[in-house]
């Protein structure tokens, strides 16, 4: 077939323009269907990319998932092993774009002396309790120490008296209340502090007493020493394993131990949730495109008369087909652009609803959404191929 002359090209676009403008109502309807499809596609793709990343940050709620400690907890004579405090400086500063959250603890046994109280004639007594000296970073918000401890730091105004946070079980058994004074004894060293009662956390922390790390180091005569470090590594399971391996390399001679209860549990939950999300999103996208295709097919079917007329006045089948495919592609482009623009707002809103933070728009998502819509629109016009076999005469006679 010879190439169409130039002026025919102009004619081509003129017919397309006319086809589109012929019925405003129908144009609106088909753009609505295509636009809705594109908007949903863009928003869901955006959410899908964002949700998996956010999910791993949500896992922070489970607290620390890696423990760094000495290879052997105790020496052959039963005395505990320690880490050097300088190890904290060797930890990486950042993890997954946020400052690394870690807490350092120094454990030991102290005797708590509670003063006699006249009110209920309670005699003075001493009890042995585990004391944990602790330091955590970053200060303020923290995902590695129980929330009750962070609350205590924020709520209690700094005063001259040394403060110690007392686990709920210790407080109940020793009948201590916030504000009481207690004495701490370890060997020959003595210290005193003002009690702050923690709420129950359901872990070993309930039967411990917490003190600032330097004060505990002085009390136990272990300057510059810590028992263990707990930290929170975030990211997908694969990445956490890599990070643990890197930490092991960086810190020779210590044990870097993932808390498998959380690392494995999280990995399992992560794979389930991301599988669920992918399946739902793929299903929705697939069926949305099928819906759009059905709507497009409906439009294509109406063109029977036009095709008949064009063929009757000498239009080659191929050129007629090109005409309608161009119309479909234009519709797809317009619908896709409108939809993608709406999708930006939709994904911002969805992100706010689910995670409380607007999903970051990812630019790659929008061209993909527009391209998908165009492909779907052209595929929807596919039944027109059957029109190639239409006999103009039978169309004009009004035969179906």
């Amino acid at each position: 077939m010879p190439e169409p002359p130039r002026d025919n090209g102009q004619m081509f676009w003129r017919i397309v323009r006319r086809l589109l403008g012929a019925n405003r109502g129908r144009l609106f309807v088909i753009l609505l269907a295509l636009g809705a499809g594109a908007a949903i596609t863009a928003a869901l793709l955006n959410l899908q990319v964002d949700a998996k990343r956010r999910l791993t940050t949500e896992f922070r709620a489970f607290g620390p998932n890696v423990v760094i400690g000495p290879r052997d907890a105790v020496d052959s004579d039963g005395s505990p092993h320690f880490l050097d405090e300088s190890m904290l400086k060797q930890l990486p500063d950042r993890n997954e774009g946020a400052p690394l959250a870690y807490a350092a603890y120094l454990y030991g046994v102290v005797d708590i002396a509670t003063p006699p109280r006249e009110r209920d004639q309670r005699p003075a007594k001493t009890t042995s309790v585990i004391l944990a000296g602790f330091f955590h970073a970053p200060l303020g918000l923290s995902s590695v120490v129980p929330a009750a401890l962070v609350d205590a730091e924020e709520k209690v105004r700094p005063s001259n008296a040394r403060r110690c946070e007392v686990g709920q079980k210790v407080a109940t058994i020793l009948e201590l209340r916030t504000g009481d004074e207690i004495g701490l004894t370890s060997g020959k060293r003595k210290d005193a502090c003002q009690v702050y009662e923690l709420s129950a956390v359901g872990g070993p922390e309930d039967s411990q007493v917490f003190l600032e790390l330097p004060a505990a180091q002085a009390l136990f005569e272990q300057p510059g020493r810590i028992s263990l470090i707990q930290l929170r590594l975030s990211g997908p399971p694969q990445q956490i394993q890599e990070q643990v391996a890197r930490l092991e390399q960086r810190l020779p001679g210590v044990e870097v131990r993932p808390i498998r209860q959380f690392t494995e549990g999280e990995a399992k939950i992560y794979s389930r949730i991301s599988g669920l999300l992918t399946a739902t999103v793929v299903t929705v996208l697939l069926l949305t495109s099928l819906c759009v295709m059905a709507a497009m097919t409906n439009v294509a079917m109406e063109r029977r008369n036009d095709v008949g007329l064009m063929k009757a006045i000498g239009g080659a089948t191929r050129r007629v087909l090109h005409l309608f495919l161009a119309e479909a592609a234009l519709l797809g482009l317009a619908g896709g652009l409108i939809g993608a623009a709406a999708g930006i707002f939709l994904s911002i809103w969805l992100g706010k609803q689910v995670f409380g933070v607007a999903a970051q728009p990812r630019l790659i998502v929008y061209p993909v959404a527009v391209a998908l819509t165009m492909i779907v629109a052209i595929l929807g016009a596919y039944p027109l191929r059957r029109l190639a076999s239409i006999r103009p005469a039978s169309v004009f006679r009004g035969e179906a």
Binding site: G25, V109, T127, T288, V354
Partner: protein
């Protein structure tokens, strides 16, 4: 006449009707699949979270303070309180007994390994010096609990700590066997199948157990040994007693109401609180059946679980909502298109004296018929789809729900009517003459 007109419209141009119905059923299939999965997923995910292990910890109320560092309790054996094992079947009699999916009592004692080891320097087996401060944990591996109602319930560490990985096999609750932790095995050169000798604080009194496996828990247990509860009870001379109980329960994420102190609630509020499977209300009912116990919520597990579950549920509802919106728009658009293309027909009917109301009624009846057929087909398609998705991800297909069917049919009817209402309104302004002339 009315019915004939409707029937005629379906038989005259079947292909077009099939297309509209296809669009409708596809759209409704999306909605059905998304709704069924979302309705079902809450429970499935909640049980998925049990792979994090126990969320409740029971200890004796009268217990003295544990002196526990890295998993080893340094209290003398005669100090502290114990709880009776005989009370445990009662756990499955509480109101929320179906939500209690596993529990395992434990009893711990500090021991040292005295297994003779081969010493290369003297070319002989020597008993090592008492060097380790290790812990022997008595627990159930896979214990059958006889329930008061005659049934039985199999539970143990295997269920409450599913993340433990075991090389070899778990011990048998009835035999003198044990599993050793990874670090313990490395330090003491333990071989699976051979015995270990453990000695407590009293020299000369020991235990010989056959090692069936080496486990890795990632916790303090890795430095110790786990053996059947009964054997540790005998060794400690505390038959039928335990010190710690881990309970794994399916719960509903806590909200502000759940966190209130039950003592301050009015009676109707208390009823509502105890009839919701909040972790705190399950803890409350456990305390009632286990006298002398102190039941604590393991906040770290329970709260992390709650916040993630809430987020994921919201996420799924949002995706469902998006699916609904897309399907509704596409279906509405295709039904609008099907009305627009019938301009000529509408013009003819009006020319023959039909009022706008009659025409609208006729078209609406047609659309409704389509909606019910398309909706029905879509529901069955969607149910199959939901089964596939559910089976693939959770291994269990969601049960088909009548509620979803009703919702889907109502949505299909609503959307088609709404989609055709706008072009119909415009159709009522049509002048028959120009339409019939083909203008």
């Amino acid at each position: 006449m009315f019915l004939r007109l409707v029937a005629d419209s379906f038989t005259r141009r079947p292909r077009r009707k099939v297309l509209t119905a296809a669009a409708l059923s596809l759209g409704m299939a999306v909605v059905t699949a998304a709704l069924s999965v979302s309705l079902d997923v809450g429970d499935r995910l909640a049980s998925e979270f049990r792979s994090l292990g126990a969320n409740l910890l029971v200890t004796p109320q009268a217990d003295s303070l544990p002196l526990e560092i890295r998993g080893v309790d340094y209290r003398p054996v005669n100090r502290g309180a114990y709880l009776p094992e005989a009370d445990l079947p009662k756990l499955k009699t509480i109101f929320w007994h179906n939500n209690i999916i596993a529990f395992s009592p434990t009893l711990e004692v500090p021991v040292e390994s005295r297994t003779p080891q081969f010493s290369p320097s003297s070319a002989a087996f020597v008993k090592p010096e008492a060097h380790g401060h290790e812990v022997l944990i008595g627990a159930w591996s896979n214990h059958e609990v006889r329930l008061p109602d005659g049934g039985s319930f199999v539970t143990g560490l295997k269920q409450t700590s599913p993340w433990w990985s075991v090389a070899g096999s778990w011990f048998d609750d009835a035999k003198a066997e044990c599993m050793v932790g990874r670090n313990f095995a490395k330090k003491n050169a333990v071989v699976i199948g051979s015995p270990v000798y453990l000695e407590g604080r009293i020299p000369g009194q020991g235990l010989a157990l056959t090692v069936t496996g080496v486990f890795s828990s990632g916790g303090a247990e890795d430095d110790g040994v786990v053996a059947p509860l009964r054997i540790v009870q005998q060794y400690l001379q505390k038959p039928g007693q335990y010190r710690k109980l881990l309970v794994s329960a399916l719960t509903k994420p806590e909200d502000d109401f759940a966190r209130r102190d039950p003592k301050t609630m009015k009676s109707d509020e208390f009823e509502r609180w105890s009839c919701s499977p909040y972790v705190s209300s399950i803890a409350y009912s456990l305390k009632e059946v286990l006298p002398g116990s102190d039941v604590r919520v393991i906040r770290r597990v329970a709260e992390g679980e709650g916040s993630i579950l809430t987020r994921v549920r919201a996420l799924l509802w949002v995706v469902t909502f998006a699916a609904l919106l897309a399907a509704a728009l596409a279906v509405g658009a295709s039904s609008a298109a099907s009305v627009i293309e019938r301009r000529t027909e509408i013009g003819l009917m009006k020319a023959l004296g039909a009022g706008s109301g009659t025409v609208g009624f006729l078209l609406a009846a047609e659309q409704l018929l389509l909606a019910f057929v398309g909706g029905g087909i879509g529901y069955s398609l969607g149910t199959i789809l939901a089964r596939l998705v559910g089976q693939r991800i959770f291994g269990i297909a969601p049960a088909p729900s009548l509620l979803v069917l009703v919702a889907v049919l109502a949505l299909a009817a609503g959307v088609t009517l709404l989609g055709s209402a706008i072009p119909l309104r415009r159709a009522s302004h049509y002048q028959p003459a120009p339409i019939l002339r083909g203008e």
